[in-house]
Structures are given as C-alpha cells and as structure tokens.
C-alpha cells in the first residue's frame, strides 16, 4: 500500500500540451504511472505521444475514467482548472503550479471544503511519489525506492534531501508527499499524517517543516492524540532572522511565533523526535527502525 497515488491511479494532466507539462507527463508515464488523458481547452482531439487530449475535464473523465489529476497550467488559470477537475468528480487533485494568487487559493479551498471526497495536494508542491507504483508530479523518482517510511514536507527540494539521506542508508518510502509552501495549502501535515497512520505499509513517518505559521504545532498536537506510529520531524530555518521572508510565502517569522525553536519544542513536547539537520533525521530514523 501507499497513500494518494498507486497502481490504481488513472492520471489526467491539465496543461499537458505545455512544454513543462508535457515533459513531466512523459516522465510520470515512463515511471509506470497510468497517464490516461490530458486537458487543454481548444486542443481536444489531439494527442501527446498517444495520450488523448480533451477540451474539458468532464469529457476526459467520461472517456478515460481518470481518478487523479496533475495541474500544470499557468498561475492565472490554475485555480479554475482545480475547480473544473473537482466539478468533474476527480478525487485526487495534485497542483504543481506556483504563484496562484492568494485570494483565489482561499476561494478554491473554501469551495473544495464543500465537496467531500475531493482532496487537493498543493498548490506550489512537487507532487506525490509512491516508489515502484506511481509518480504524479516533478519528484525525481530515480533517487527513491520502495520501503516503509512515509515522508510529508512543505518544501520540494528539502523532501528530496531527506528522502536521499534515507536512501543512502538503505531505506525506502511508502509515499513521499509534498504539500507545498503556499499560504493556503489544500492539505495540511495533519491530513497527510492521518493517511500514513492508516496505511499498513507505512511503519514510520518523517515530516519536514519550516519556519512560519502554525502547521507544525497543529501536527504535534494531532500526533500526540491520534498517531501510534513513530514520527521523526525536521524543521528548516533555525538560523533565519525574524521579520525576513525566506522565499516561501509561509516562511516568515514574526516575533517569537513560528520560529524553528518553538516548533521543535512543540513537537518534542508531544513525543516527536526532531533532527537538527537532514542527516540527523536519517540517523534517528535508522536508530528507531533498527531497535
């Protein structure tokens, strides 16, 4: 097993005919993901290396039985595309697009909350990889292998770093989920950790957070109350000065709120071990799994 994407995934790509969309669609297919269709308004009837393109999600779902989508359209059109996929009944929406206006993210999130059964991962995320089964997004899959560690992270490249440290020690992953660093992520740490807790293949959960916001603190409280599997955390930004935005929209420290030290303390108080570097995280994981 794994979470979110697996051998039952039937992927429809929004923005399949764009340069980046096409490149990563074919990467995902080469990995073994069943890419069944694409959507680009006005290009219905064409195909991308044999993958049929439709004008609308409704047509794509009717013709290809897609159950998952990857959103790869430019920021001005991405929220619309997410809502269209939801309207067509696609259950798992993975939005890679970076730079969607915050108010649109907010309205989209509020609308999706009214549609039970539909889950958004991202936007501004690297996607979801279940090694050996399916890759939906831009995670460089060659660096990861099958295993029992679930990884959830706010940052794309940090996810790769942590996964890579584990791979160097011979450990693989059930799934790797990038939830994105935007102001309004469709899914939070808590929701993905709940999926890993319920997944029989996942033995241990690694969460990689960063400064800003309260998502890590909320995860700490949730873990203490609901999670039986060991969780190891990493927080980036111990040396970040207060008041400076560190790239991600969420990564800003204001006063003592949202500092790495405060997050680490909240996690440790709730029984989560925190590694101070990605290397230290991997060492803790190895110690737990070998004990």
């Amino acid at each position: 097993m794994s979470v979110l994407v697996d051998r039952d995934t039937r992927l429809c790509v929004a923005g399949i005919t764009g340069r980046e969309g096409r490149f990563h669609t074919l990467n995902n297919r080469n990995y073994g993901t069943a890419v069944v269709s694409g959507v680009t308004p006005g290009k219905g009837g064409q195909d991308v290396e044999g993958i049929p393109v439709f004008n609308t999600f409704r047509e794509a779902v009717a013709a290809s039985e897609a159950n998952t989508t990857m959103i790869f359209v430019p920021p001005p059109f991405a929220a619309d595309s997410i809502l269209e996929a939801a309207d067509a009944g696609i259950a798992t929406i993975v939005a890679i697009t970076e730079g969607i206006p915050a108010h649109e993210e907010l309205r989209t999130y509020a609308q999706l909350q009214r549609m039970p059964g539909i889950r958004l991962i991202g936007p501004n995320c690297p996607g979801v990889l279940s090694p050996g089964k399916a890759n939906v997004g831009i995670i460089p899959a060659a660096f990861f292998r099958e295993g029992n560690i679930g990884v959830v992270s706010r940052s794309g490249t940090l996810t790769y770093q942590v996964g890579n440290e584990l791979a160097r020690r011979g450990f693989g992953n059930s799934s790797i989920v990038g939830i994105g660093g935007d102001p309004v992520p469709g899914s939070s740490f808590v929701e993905v950790i709940a999926l890993f807790e319920a997944d029989p293949e996942t033995e241990l959960i690694v969460m990689a957070g960063e400064i800003g916001g309260r998502a890590e603190e909320e995860a700490a409280e949730y873990i203490a109350a609901h999670v039986t599997k060991p969780v190891v955390a990493y927080i980036a930004g111990f040396t970040a000065p207060p008041g400076k935005t560190m790239g991600h929209a969420g990564a800003i420290v204001s006063g003592t709120q949202g500092t790495a030290a405060a997050k680490a303390a909240a996690l440790e108080a709730n029984g989560v071990q925190v590694g101070r570097t990605p290397t230290a995280v991997a060492d803790i994981v190895v110690a737990i799994l070998n004990s």
Partner: protein, 379 residues
Amino acid sequence: MDLLEYQGKQLLARHAIPVPVGKPASTVDAAAGAASEIGYPCAIKAQVQIGGRGKLGGIKIATTEAEARQHASAILGMDIRGLTVRELWVEAASEIAAEYYASIVFDRGAKAALVMLSTRGGMDIEAVAAETPEAIASLHVDPLIGLQPFHARRLAFEAQVAEDVVRPVGAFLDALYRTFVQEEAMLVEVNPLVITPARVLVALDAKVTLDDNALYRHPENAALRDLSAEDPQERMAKQRDLVYVKLDGDIGVLGNGAGLVMSTLDVVAQHGGKPANFLDAGGGAKADAITAAVEVILSNRSVKAVLFNIFGGITRCDEVARGLIEAFETIKPTVPFVVRLDGTNSVEGRELLAGAGLANVHAVDTMDAAAARVVELAR
C-alpha cells in the same frame, strides 16, 4: 508588497474610504509648497515601511511655512529603526474626537479573512491587544459569502462603538472588505480610524500589503513596486528577480527551493560557519539566473567562500553547472566555491564542471560534507 502610507491611502480612496487631503514630497521645498497648498495646520509624515514612527518623531504638525520647513528638514534623512526617510507625506491635519482601529488580515491558519475592530485605536493598539484582547472585536469571513451587513453590525456592537456611528462604521468595514478583496491584499489596516467632532470617519493612517502573485492583474498597483531596497545586494537581487536575504556572515549560500536553502544555512551554522546570505535560485533556474545569482552573492565583499547546494527536481544540474562556468568566465571570482550537485542531470552537471577545470571549485557529494568543507575554506 508593502505600500507606503500615502500609497495605501490612495488605494483606500479609490474604494470611497475618506482620507485626508495630502501630497507626497521628497525635498524640503516640495514639502513647504505642498503645505501651503493644503493649508495650515498640516501634518508632515515620514514615509517608511515600518511601524512606530510617531513615537520616534517621524510625524509633526506644522502651523506655519517656517515650521513646515523645519519639520521637513528634520524628518527627511532621519533613521527610523534602520530605514532612512526619503519621502514625506504632507496632509491636512484632522480634528479628532475618537481614535478607532480597523483591519482585515489574510489569516493563513484559519484560511479566511480576519476582520478586527476596536474603539481603542492609536499608538498603543499592540498593548491593547496584549493586555485587554476583549477590547478588540473580531470575526472570520467565509470568502464565498463575503462580509455581510450583519457581520459589520456584530463587530460594531461588540466593539461598543458610539451609537451614532454604528451605521458609518458598518459602511466603512464594507468598503474596507471590498478594498481587501478587489485589490487582493494580504493586509489592510487603518489605525487610527478617526471620528471627527462632526462625526465623520477618516482613515488617518493606512498599512496595506498586497499579494505579489496577483500584481499581474493590477497594473496600477504593480507600478508602485519599489526596487530601491536599503541594502545594495538586496536591491541588485530584486532587479534580477532573485529571492535574496542578506545575513551578517562570510559564507555565500545558493540553493534551489526555500526549504533546502534554509536547511543549508542551518547546516553551515552547525559546522561553525556564518552564512552571508539566503539565496533561492528557485525551481527550474536556467544558466543565466545562476550567473546573476553569483554576481549578487559576490558583490557582498564579506563573502570569503561560496556554497552551492543543489538537489535538482525541476531544476537541472547541467543548467546550474553551465551558469557557474559562465559566471567564472565573466566575473572571475577569487573566493573558493564548494559545489554539491544532486538530483536531475547531476551526472551531466558534474561532468561539465570537471571538464571546465575551474580553479578553486570543489565538488562534494553530500550536503553535510559540502557544508563542512565550505566552513573550512572560509577560515
């Protein structure tokens, strides 16, 4: 993007929120001219993107031209918490019967707009929030429904505004919410929201932060973009569209992805080094962006060694290598570089670098070892 007070007021005025008449000025003569045009008494106000200027002498009332000149020359060039005052806003002095507080903030945790109202506005709102939070009425707004009249009434009654201004306060909050949504702001704050003796509401200050991701469809606001950061490296980086934050150490750091770069700073610090900057080359950075980034990093004379930490996903390591090679040709750096390339096209990237035979470039396989090496080289 943070707006200056007067830019924020002009934005509010577009949505029918009353603001005092005023003019911007960047010289003493211009300020005196503006003051005479507006009439006395008038306020001379420092335009800086930081709070607390009133307490530091950044706002003065002038009743004559001589006073206007005197205040303008005192405030221009003044240092307010590390920012130099380069611009003034001269506006008609307002008569004040009461000072309220009103704001709308994009609340990420709650995933909704948070509207706040208090009758205890003015310079001590932070103390009010800390000591008597019940004096600030607040509520979250469902973005699909928006601020309804009953929300505004509830806030007005809960904040216990004067009875005769319940309706005007409601109308004001409605206009403020429309501004927040239509201009795609992350924050609109009016403090103080003045009630005049004639019982008219006036926004005496405005703090507005706009969503950078939405500027493409607000050309009027995008034109206010300020590329004149205080720090020369930060200014250079802004002009080159790079996410750069200057720090006070001597090790230049470049990585791809905010999380990985923050993590790199931490690991360098763990090894006893002090990073000179945060620089996120972003996803899918091409060679020319890398060259520009090297230029920005090295323009900081404190830098004694540079660490490149790349884990390619959408970014391709061969592009990064090409950018670095080009930077060596054009800039000819004299400090050592430690380069860690992993992920997409890392083999090609490493081969390119090795083939270029750049002096003083050290290829290291892991992030931890790369951090240790750069700290050693910076000593």
